[in-house]
Each structure stands twice: as structure tokens, then as C-alpha cells.
């Protein structure tokens, strides 16, 4: 008797847009270790920042809704209310063992949330219909590859969480609404449904747009400027393109099965632009000089921006300009949705291939691609990551872990523990778990 075999498992794997697909693109090995392998990060710098910003904006919306039902006061809120929201979210994150890596990061995040809610909140919150909306969809995968032998996968499920769905009513007036219309290219009296994604980062430079030097960063390059471009393949998502994929997909999933009474479009709001700090401003200056920003200042503002020198007070940028810098239109067209979907199909295919190769006995570092990126210096695998070790930053660091000691007394001197960067400022990673 020839013994029949156990049937191959049929499965529709579920992939989160940010937690899986973009994370894999960011770095395959890191995704395998922290994502699939569920190994927590020791220094989840980006994660805390992203979750904190999103948590505060979501909580603020719940406060606003409570006002609508008569249980809270109308925004703008007293600073005490803002502090209450911030403390509540901070405590909540601490329960999940998420803490700001440094006091400076915490202060920066709180300042950005406070400014956003104080200046944009009173107009933005009333426009919001819902927050933290879970969306899901299923896509067929291209022909099942013969190499994917451990399970049959002919479809995958994609999930995501929309930060906010807003309704821009025709004829509504206000600075935020006007900036939104201007950004979206709408007529003054037009209205639309807007799928919003908040980013805890500054507006990326045009250097990240396709066709230009693709220095992928999941961030504002605070450390990334020193990273080589080793290992970046054609078509890799950048901080410029990945929000396009993400928001177009969210919009598509959200609209499935809904009657649309008006148009729909997408928007990214870069929270750091509402409250830039010195580092942001230095980069802004550089981008202006190199012509690498799509929202440059003009006239007097341009002169003030270029004249500013480090150590001096930042030029007072008007709210309208900061809103225009913060808001980025993401068109939701059939073409954009198709591009995003094709890109995600390709990522899922790659992940499934990696899993199959691993199942057939491949080793972790052979199977999972390593992409050098700005967060490498704090990565938990930096000493075994040959791709990072080959970068100029990696070469300047120690090849094996070093004890956590530094020259001099507490708070002075050079850090010696493995060449970590100390306190990297928060960047644009939106690596929230979904």
C-alpha cells in the first residue's frame, strides 16, 4: 500500500498593510524577527512616537464626540483638557510597555500633539466621521508558484486601520477646510469624503519621489543621511510612495459596498509640519536651497526661512502655510488603486516565497532580504546584519556587541554600547502594529 500524504494546508494568509507589507519592504530580516517571530524591539523609538500621536488624535476625537452628545466642552479646549488627553494616552502606552525613549522625544511629541489639537483641532475634529476604522479586503494572488509547497495560497487578505474618515462639506469655511481644498485642488465650494492618514513625521523631500535618488527612509533622515544606498532595489517604496499605496488601498477598501454620494480622495497629514523643530527646519532649509520640496515658502517667508541660523528662534510660520506643508493630497484613482494593489501583490508573493524557502531549510539571512535604512543603528540585529555592516555607518560601528558603558561620568562622553546613536529624534516611521 502506498500511503497517501497529508493534504497540504489551504490558507488565506492575512497581511496588514503597515505591520506586514510595508514592514517587509522596510527590511525583510527585521520583519521576520520582530513581525513574524514576535520578538519585541528593545528600543521601539519609532513605534512609541507613532502610536502616541495616533492615540492622542483618536482620543481627541472621542472627546469631541462626547461634546456632540453634551458630555464635554466644545474645542478649542483648555490646556488642562489637552494635558488630560496626553497623560491618558501616555499611561495607556506604558501599560503596553511602550515608553518614550528619551525626555526630548516625549517633549517633542507632546508639543506636536498640543499644537495640532489647539490650532487645527477645532476645525478638523468636526469634519471627522469616524476614526480608527478597520478595513479588510481579499485579493487573488497570481498563479500559485510551484516553489510555495508548504501551503496552498491563491488569495491573501489585506487589513488596515484608517486613521480618520472626514467629510469636507460643500461651502464649509475655515482655515483648515481651505487648506484642505487647496491641497486637494478643489473648488472653493466643493465637498468630498477624505481618507486621512496621520504621519508622525515631516513632509518628505522630493528626493524620495520615484525617479530620483531613492534614499529610502522610513523617516526624516535624522540618521539616514549617513546611510548608503546599498541594497535598494528598483521599485522599493519610499517615504514618498508608500503613503500613496497605503491611502489609495484604504480608500478602496473603505468604499467597498458603500454608496458614495460625493467624491472621495485621500490625504496624508504630516504632524511634524504643524510644529517643526530645529532639525526639521534645517532640513527644510536644505530642501529649499536644493529645490527638493514641493511646498516651498514664498516672498518674505522664503527670505526669513533662508536667513534663519541654528540656535536662533525659529521663524514664525503662519498656520495656513504649516497646514499646506502638513497636508498632502493622495489621489484615489483607479490607476492609483491598481498600482498599490499590484505593489502589495508583489510583496505578498515575495513574503510567501521567503516563507517557503525558509520551510525548505533556507537560513534566515539567506532568505530574508536586509535593507539598510535609517533605523539600522538601533536595530536589534545590527551586529549580524551583513548589509548594515557593509554601509558606511555600519563600518564605523563595532562589529560585535559592546558593553553599555561610556567614557566619563553619567551623562557625558561617548556612548560605547554597540555604537547606538543615543537618542535619535523620532522620524516618520509609521510602524504601528495593526
Amino acid at each position: 500500500m502506498n500511503l497517501p500524504t497529508r493534504p497540504t494546508t489551504y490558507e488565506i494568509p492575512s497581511y496588514s498593510l503597515t505591520g506586514d507589507l510595508l514592514a517587509f519592504r522596510h527590511c525583510g530580516l527585521r520583519y521576520r524577527f520582530h513581525g513574524i517571530g514576535k520578538m519585541p524591539e528593545t528600543r521601539p523609538v519609532q513605534r512609541w512616537y507613532g502610536v502616541f500621536i495616533h492615540g492622542c488624535l483618536d482620543e481627541a476625537y472621542r472627546y469631541y464626540k462626547a461634546f456632540a452628545s453634551g458630555r464635554n466642552e466644545r474645542p478649542p479646549w483648555h490646556p488642562v483638557v489637552l494635558t488630560e488627553i496626553i497623560e491618558l494616552v501616555t499611561r495607556r502606552l506604558e501599560n503596553q510597555d511602550l515608553r518614550a525613549w528619551s525626555h526630548a522625544i516625549r517633549v517633542a511629541a507632546e508639543a506636536r500633539v498640543t499644537t495640532t489639537l489647539r490650532e487645527a483641532g477645532p476645525r478638523l475634529l468636526p469634519m471627522i466621521l469616524q476614526t480608527e476604522t478597520r478595513v479588510t479586503g481579499t485579493r487573488p494572488l497570481a498563479e500559485d508558484s510551484p516553489t510555495r509547497t508548504f501551503r496552498v495560497v491563491d488569495r491573501y487578505e489585506v487589513t488596515g486601520v484608517i486613521d480618520a474618515v472626514a467629510s469636507l462639506s460643500p461651502g464649509s469655511r475655515g482655515l483648515v477646510e481651505e487648506a484642505m481644498r487647496s491641497t486637494l485642488g478643489l473648488l472653493p465650494d466643493a465637498g468630498t469624503t477624505v481618507i486621512i492618514d496621520y504621519k508622525g513625521s515631516r513632509r518628505p523631500s522630493l528626493a524620495h519621489t520615484p525617479g530620483t535618488l531613492a534614499r529610502d527612509g522610513v523617516g526624516n533622515d535624522d540618521v539616514g543621511d549617513t546611510i548608503d544606498d546599498v541594497g535598494l532595489a528598483e521599485g522599493q517604496p519610499t517615504v514618498w510612495t508608500s503613503p500613496e499605496w497605503q491611502v489609495a488601498s484604504y480608500a478602496d477598501l473603505w468604499s467597498a459596498g458603500r454608496p458614495m454620494h460625493q467624491g472621495m480622495t485621500g490625504m496624508v497629514i504630516y504632524i511634524n509640519e504643524l510644529h517643526p523643530n530645529e532639525v526639521d527646519f534645517l532640513k527644510f532649509q536644505t530642501e529649499i536651497r536644493l529645490g527638493l520640496t514641493d511646498v516651498p515658502p514664498e516672498g518674505r517667508l522664503l527670505a526669513e526661512a533662508l536667513a534663519w541660523r541654528r540656535g536662533n528662534p525659529l521663524p514664525a510660520l503662519p498656520l495656513r502655510f504649516r497646514l499646506l506643508r502638513a497636508m498632502r493630497s493622495i489621489p484615489v484613482t483607479a490607476e492609483a488603486i491598481r498600482t498599490a494593489a499590484t505593489a502589495f501583490d508583489s510583496v505578498v508573493t515575495e513574503i510567501e516565497e521567503c516563507l517557503s524557502r525558509e520551510h525548505r531549510g533556507g537560513t534566515m539571512r539567506e532568505v530574508w532580504q536586509q535593507n539598510p535604512n535609517p533605523s539600522c543603528p538601533t536595530c536589534d540585529l545590527r551586529f549580524t546584519c551583513s548589509a548594515f555592516q557593509a554601509t558606511s555607518v555600519g563600518r564605523r560601528q563595532f562589529a560585535t556587541p559592546r558593553a553599555p558603558e561610556h567614557r566619563g561620568r553619567e551623562g557625558q562622553g561617548t556612548l560605547r554600547h554597540g555604537g547606538g546613536p543615543g537618542d535619535p529624534a523620532p522620524d516618520g516611521t509609521d510602524a504601528r502594529p495593526r
Binding site: Y10, I12, K38, F150, A403, H406, R407
Partner: protein, 791 residues
């Protein structure tokens, strides 16, 4: 309805407005048969019952339980027109929930495709089918769905507590409910706990950890059985009596959880129930029209109340699926009666009787195996009396002239392991395994040893006295073959003995506590210091090898000497323990590269996270020369909460991290793990370690007393609506044993082999239910005519 389904909701609960145009039952069934075999009459009946009825599907093993559930979900959507977002389907584990969702989506899309391609489909029906968005179906475990509802519908500034991992919860109970509440020395509490621990008040294994565990089990059972707690406590007249002490322990535990803004699983479920009753989740529940619950035989009273509360909003539209013969989780609070008496309980709540459907056609196993399973499950008259009323036997559909059931009994475990290994090796690596009904050869193209499984009461490699058990002996035999076969038994492996674990754990310990002084002062179970000392010695041995990973010695030495420090250098005051661990791991690239090793790394990482939840120092290593006490406490916290649980086998690897079981390894697993799985060959270890009829092994063959779970039921159910049971603890022990072996015997598709030592043969002297002895007879019914062929 397009054709008027024969099952219009007339006498059933909800009277929602159904879409005017949907698929007819006939069209639905025709489309289904285009991509899967025709339904048998029982399956068809279960699927076609009205969507808003109360339905209880009793599905024996291999009868297409999940298929029927999935098709019922799809029928509710396509025929009855219930929007997918209004259908909620839950099951017992995350893995099962993922499988259920995969099947709903896969078959749903296929069905949609078949319907759209069906000639003659009315345009309006076509449009309806196109409009169905299956992705919106709500599937998951009741915990995940409940947590999501609470999170999404919380009020502003409402609490969002984090979920305490099970080990963290137990550690908090032990620390705060037991020690800090000062109850560790109380003789009254000790007496109550000892009575729960052992029927004969045997103190073996009754240490402080066990006492903490028992307090945790009482806490969980209190919620699972919805005990009127204040009344239960007040029934103890002495205000300092043991029930009051348990209450004190629980209060201290709850307070410690609240202080950390944590909830455990039972609190989460209780909060969901409370939120539903208070109307806080009305917006979420307003969307739900139908609830379907899989694995209902393992539900508890709290969950039943939750389910009934949810469907009370939609007129009682609930379908439950399960098999009372496969209820295995009494020790986790499952109450099988809730399933076997579902129709009556449903009637009591909703004023009408639920429809019962029995699925009886077995599509998994060959006819001889089905006959054997039927014989086994019906041989004990007393067990028959507790099965679902009117339950028929399984019907065979498989190969009638397949292999008979085999039995391999040998004089001892070593010989048994050798002969089993030979058979397995011959089938999968040799020229074939010679069995009485013929030679068995693995499939030449895709067959591998993953087509076979060994099931055991426990997959543990070693006994309590560290003697090797069958899983380990089998591993040694198979690995010694010319073309070795590796075993896959991560649950059975003692983590503490694993080379990766012991070396990494040893290096951690050597860095943190080089001279063992903290180990002496830590609160640890009896055996743990010995295991940890072995680890440290192993780490030292690694460091003294001729070739040591570059930089490792310097790194470890720096840590060892951190309190002394180097002139001109300052040590970081606070270092995450996890950072030290990851640093050590990276000295061993081979560990980083091997996916299987990551299962062990994750076990460590999980403990670091749990340590952060449980202790105030959050798993950090403090090095503060001005505050030695704080520094010492941080080290002890890591020893107690990270290293000790691994050393004392309290930590399992997380098998959910595996995308698939490796095909080239022989899986060895517990019967509980095998639930829901099927294998071409199944070897059931019925008693390889039972050499004589001793009271210590009675619980796994022929119970003489009840178990802790039975005693706990008797202690608490006097104050639960479940009421005190009339069935004795011993009888419940027998019932549980029948269920366990029923699950084991019903896993194989083609070949079933019972394995054990000679004493447990039917004609042997050791009574054992798995070899035919029923509870009132001390001689096996199979003594003269065993239902298997000896090999």
C-alpha cells in the same frame, strides 16, 4: 427572497427586513456542488435550517464539521440575505479562527464565482451576488471579538487595559495574592488548597508555585462558573476561614492588576458581558444578526451567558457546533453539559427549542478504524448515559478493506521505542513497513514522516525523576538510524535541557549573577537553582572552548565586573534585559540563522515582556553603585521572572509561530494538541510508561479519584446556577478519559496503532480504559477478542 426559501422566519425570533432578491436554496446547493462533493443528508439539513433558529450541530470526528459550519455561514449570507458584516462566527483558538476565516473566504469567493457564472441567474440576483462583500464577515475567538468591541466602543477617557499574559497573571497572583497578602503561611488556606491539589492530601508537588496556581484556577473557575462569590464566601461562618482567605487573595490580585491597568482573560470576558448588559455595546450588537459558535463542547457558563446575551438582541439566532465526545478542556473551565443540554438551555432562555442535527458520516478514517472508534465509545454503559441524547454511531464511508487497527505492546519503553522506530523508519526511509495486511510504503513523490504522528497523554521527554520517556527514546532511536529521522516535539522537550536555551540562559545568568549570590536570595522553586547552576556551568564551558565567538569573552567579562567598573568609564544605569539577551544571541550567528532556534529565542523574549508587566523595574538591569539594593532587586527580578520559568518548564514554545509543521520530522504531540488534526498514520501511546497498576498513574488509565478540576467544580458549583453535580468525581474522571482516547483514536485516516507496555494489554493485569476495561469491571472486555491485530 427570489424563490421563497422553504425556511421563512415565521415562528423564529428576529423579523428583520430581508433583501427582496437573494439566491435560492437550489441555486446555492447547485453552485456548492460545482467545487466540492455533494452534501450528505445530515449536512444538508444542518445548512438549510432557518437562519434565525437556534441550531445545535453535533458533529462526530471527520464528519465535515467545519465544512458544514462554513456552508451554513455562506447559506445565511447568500440565501437568507444577511449581510456578511452581520454574521459573527467564533471558535476556540486563534489558529482555528484563522482556518475558519480562510475557509469562509475561499469557499465564499468560489461560490460567488460559480453563482455569477450560472446561466439563467436573474439579473437582480446577479447584482445581489456581486454586491456581497465577504470580507466583512466577523470571525475570531470570542476574546478577540469581545476585546475589539470594547476597544472600538469605549467612551472618551475610558480605560483600555492591556491583556495580561497567562504567566504574568499567575505570577501576579503568586506574588500579590499569596505572598504579599501574607497568606503563604496560613494553615487554613493550605488545608483548602491541599484538598484541591490531591484527593489523598499527598504533598508531592505542593509547593508555593502550585499553591499560587490553585488560587489562579479558583479565580478563573469563579468566573467561568459564574459563582455567586459573596454568597460562597459568606457560607464559611468563620470570618478567618479559608474561603475568606481565598477572597482576600483574589482581592489583592485584582488590586495588583488594576494598579498595572491589566486584565486577564476571564476579566476581559466578564467586562464584555457587563458592557453588553449595560447597553454600552448596543451600537456594535445592533449590526449582528446571527452568531455561530464552533467547538461549543468546550464552552463555559460565562461564555454561554455572553453568547446568549449577544443573540438575545437578534431573536436567538445562534448555531452551535461541537461534539460532546471531544470535550477535553474541563481543566480550563469547560462544561460539556452546556453543549449536550443545549436544546433545553436554549429553550429556557428563548422559549423555544433549538433544532438538533447529528452529523454521522465519517469521511476521514477507514472502515476498520471507524468500527473500532464506535466500539470504544459505546462500550461503557455509564459513559453512554452522559453523551448527547440520541447520538447515533459514526457511519463508515471509507475503505472497508483497509488495514485493521494494530497494537504494539512490548516489555518496556526501550523495546517499544526501538520497534516503533524501526516500523516508522522502514515506511518512510526504508523499503516499506511490513504490517499484517501488507507492506506500507510512503508516497514516493511527496510522502514523508510528517504523514505520521505519535500521540501521547503527555509529549514530555522526561519523567518527573528525569528518566527518559517514550518520546525521547523514540527520538534517540530514529536519530541513530543510517538515514536519521528527526523528531518534532517542541512541547515535550524540556526547555531547560535544550542546548541553545541552556547556553544562552547560562550566559545571561553569568553576566547578571557571576558568583551565584543572587540565585541564593531569589525566590525559586525547589529544582530551579540546580538547573540554573548547570546552565551557568555550561556557559562557562562555552567560554573556555578553544574557539569562542569573537568578542564574547570580553563582553561577558565586562558585564560580570560591571559593579567594579573601569577607571574613566561609566556603566549605563539602566539597560533593558532584552538588550543584553539580543546582544548575546548575536555572538552566535548560527542561532540567528536557524528558524527553529527562533522559537526558543521567542520564549525568552516573551518572558522579558512578561517580566516588564509584572515587576516595577520593567525587566531592566539597574547598575547603580549608590543604590545596591535596587541593582540587586533588578537582577533577582530577571532571575525569577525570566530564567526560572524557563528552567522549571513553565514556559512552552509558541507553536503558532510555525507557519507549518516540518514535513521531514516525526511529530510527537499531546492528544490535546492533535484535536482537529488528521494524519495518515496515528500511533497512540496508551501507556508506554505504565509498568504496574499504581495509584500514581491511575488518572491516565483507570481513575481511582477525581482530579483538581472535579474537586473545584464540587467546591464552587454549590453557588453557581450550574448546581452541584450528582456525578461522582471518579465517574467524571472516567468520562474525561473516554473523551481523550476517543479524540486520539479518531485522528488517523488509514492506520491506527495502539502502543504500550505489556501490562496494559487487554489480557494484562493493569486495568486501562484504552484497552477495553470499563469502570465497573476490572477485566478488559477485549481480553478474549481484542479489536486489533498485534504487531
Amino acid at each position: 427572497m427570489s424563490d421563497g426559501s422553504p425556511f421563512l422566519p415565521n415562528h423564529y425570533g428576529s423579523s428583520r427586513d430581508l433583501p427582496e432578491t437573494t439566491v435560492s436554496t437550489h441555486e446555492f446547493l447547485e453552485a456548492v456542488t460545482r467545487f466540492r462533493p455533494s452534501l450528505d443528508p445530515d449536512q444538508g439539513h444542518a445548512i438549510e435550517l432557518p437562519w434565525n433558529a437556534g441550531v445545535c450541530i453535533v458533529a462526530g470526528p471527520g464528519t465535515g464539521k467545519t465544512s458544514t459550519l462554513v456552508l451554513r455561514i455562506l447559506k445565511v449570507i447568500f440565501v437568507d440575505g444577511i449581510p456578511p458584516g452581520s454574521v459573527m462566527a467564533t471558535t476556540f483558538t486563534r489558529k482555528a479562527a484563522a482556518e475558519l476565516r480562510s475557509r469562509v473566504l475561499a469557499w465564499g469567493f468560489r461560490l460567488q464565482q460559480e453563482l455569477l457564472g450560472m446561466p439563467g441567474l436573474a439579473p437582480e440576483v446577479h447584482a445581489f451576488v456581486r454586491s456581497v462583500d465577504l470580507n466583512k464577515a466577523r470571525t475570531g475567538t470570542i476574546d478577540s471579538l469581545g476585546a475589539r468591541m470594547l476597544r472600538e466602543h469605549r467612551p472618551p477617557s475610558g480605560p483600555t487595559p492591556a491583556l495580561a499574559a497567562p504567566y504574568s497573571a499567575k505570577a501576579i497572583m503568586r506574588r500579590h495574592g499569596f505572598f504579599m497578602a501574607g497568606l503563604d503561611k496560613d494553615p487554613m488556606l493550605e488545608r483548602l488548597l491541599l484538598g484541591l491539589h490531591s484527593a489523598t492530601r499527598d504533598r508531592f508537588g505542593f509547593d508555593a508555585h502550585r499553591k499560587g496556581e490553585l488560587l489562579s484556577e479558583l479565580w478563573e473557575r469563579r468566573f467561568h462558573d459564574v459563582v455567586a462569590w459573596d454568597d460562597w464566601v459568606a457560607a464559611e461562618p468563620d470570618p478567618h476561614g479559608p474561603r475568606h482567605l481565598v477572597d482576600d487573595a483574589h482581592a489583592a490580585y485584582l488590586s495588583a492588576l488594576e494598579e498595572r491597568n491589566l486584565v486577564d482573560y476571564v476579566l476581559l470576558q466578564a467586562r464584555v458581558l457587563e458592557a453588553i448588559r449595560d447597553g454600552d455595546l448596543d451600537p456594535a450588537l445592533a449590526e449582528i444578526e446571527v452568531l455561530l459558535v464552533d467547538e461549543y463542547q468546550d464552552t463555559n457558563l460565562l461564555q454561554e451567558q455572553l453568547y446568549f446575551e449577544i443573540v438575545s438582541r437578534c431573536g436567538g439566532a445562534i448555531t452551535v457546533v461541537g461534539d460532546d465526545d471531544q470535550s477535553l478542556y474541563r481543566f480550563r473551565g469547560a462544561t460539556v453539559d452546556l453543549f449536550s443540554r443545549f436544546p433545553e438551555r436554549y429553550d429556557q432562555r428563548f422559549g423555544r427549542r433549538a433544532e438538533s442535527v447529528f452529523l454521522t458520516f465519517n469521511y476521514r478514517s477507514s472502515a476498520p478504524i471507524v468500527r473500532f472508534v464506535n466500539d470504544f465509545v459505546t462500550m461503557d454503559a455509564d459513559y453512554r448515559s452522559v453523551r448527547s441524547m440520541g447520538k447515533p454511531i459514526l457511519q463508515q464511508t471509507g475503505n472497508t478493506d483497509g488495514h485493521p487497527v494494530y497494537a504494539m505492546f512490548r516489555a518496556n519503553e526501550e523495546i517499544l521505542a526501538r520497534d516503533l522506530a524501526n516500523l516508522i523508519w522502514n515506511i518512510f526511509r526504508g523499503t516499506g513497513g511490513a504490517l499484517p495486511a501488507g507492506l506500507v510504503v510512503a508516497d514516493p513523490d511527496h510522502g514523508d514522516v510528517g504523514d505520521c504522528v505519535v500521540l501521547s497523554h503527555s509529549p514530555s521527554d522526561v519523567k518527573y525523576d528525569r528518566q527518559l520517556r517514550l518520546p525521547h527514546l523514540l527520538r534517540l532511536e530514529l536519530e541513530a538510524k543510517p538515514s536519521p529521522v528527526r523528531v518534532f516535539n517542541p512541547r515535550g522537550e524540556t526547555l531547560g535541557f535544550n542546548p541553545t536555551v541552556s547556553v544562552l540562559g547560562g550566559l545571561l545568568l553569568y553576566c547578571l549573577d557571576p558568583d551565584g549570590s543572587h540565585l541564593d536570595q531569589s525566590f525559586l522553586s525547589e529544582d530551579v537553582p540546580d538547573v540554573l547552576t548547570v546552565w551557568r556551568e555550561r556557559a562557562k564551558a562555552v567560554l573556555s572552548l578553544p574557539i569562542v565567538p569573537h568578542g564574547l569573552s570580553d563582553y561577558v567579562n565586562a558585564w560580570r565586573n560591571r559593579s567594579i567598573g573601569r577607571p574613566g568609564w561609566t556603566w549605563a544605569r539602566e539597560t533593558p534585559g532584552l538588550e543584553l539577551f539580543y546582544a548575546l544571541v548575536q555572538f552566535f550567528p548560527s542561532i540567528v540563522d536557524d528558524p527553529e532556534q527562533h522559537l526558543y529565542l521567542e520564549a525568552f523574549a516573551r518572558q522579558f515582556s512578561e517580566c516588564a508587566q509584572v515587576t516595577r523595574l520593567r525587566g531592566a538591569i539597574i547598575t547603580d553603585t549608590t543604590n545596591r539594593d535596587l541593582s540587586d532587586r533588578s537582577v533577582r527580578a530577571l532571575i525569577e521572572n525570566v530564567l526560572a520559568p524557563i528552567a522549571e518548564r513553565k514556559v512552552d514554545i509558541d507553536e503558532d509561530l510555525l507557519v507549518a509543521y516540518p514535513r521531514d520530522r516525526l511529530p510527537i504531540m499531546s492528544i490535546h494538541q492533535a484535536k482537529g488534526l488528521e494524519f495518515p498514520i496515528t500511533i497512540v501511546d496508551v501507556g508506554s510508561d505504565i509498568l504496574r497498576a499504581h495509584k500514581a498513574n491511575a488518572f491516565k488509565r483507570f481513575p481511582e479519584t477525581g482530579e483538581t478540576a472535579h474537586r473545584m467544580e464540587d467546591l464552587l458549583r454549590t453557588h453557581s446556577t450550574l448546581g452541584a453535580t450528582e456525578r461522582s468525581q471518579v465517574n467524571r474522571g472516567f468520562d474525561d478519559l473516554y473523551r481523550k482516547f476517543f479524540v486520539a483514536f479518531s485522528r488517523p485516516q488509514h492506520i491506527l496503532i495502539l502502543a504500550g507496555c505489556n501490562g496494559t494489554r487487554p489480557e494484562g493485569e493493569i486495568p486501562h480504559v484504552a484497552t477495553g476495561t470499563t469502570r465497573y469491571e476490572h477485566e478488559s472486555r477485549w481480553r478474549d477478542r481484542p479489536p486489533f491485530t498485534y504487531i
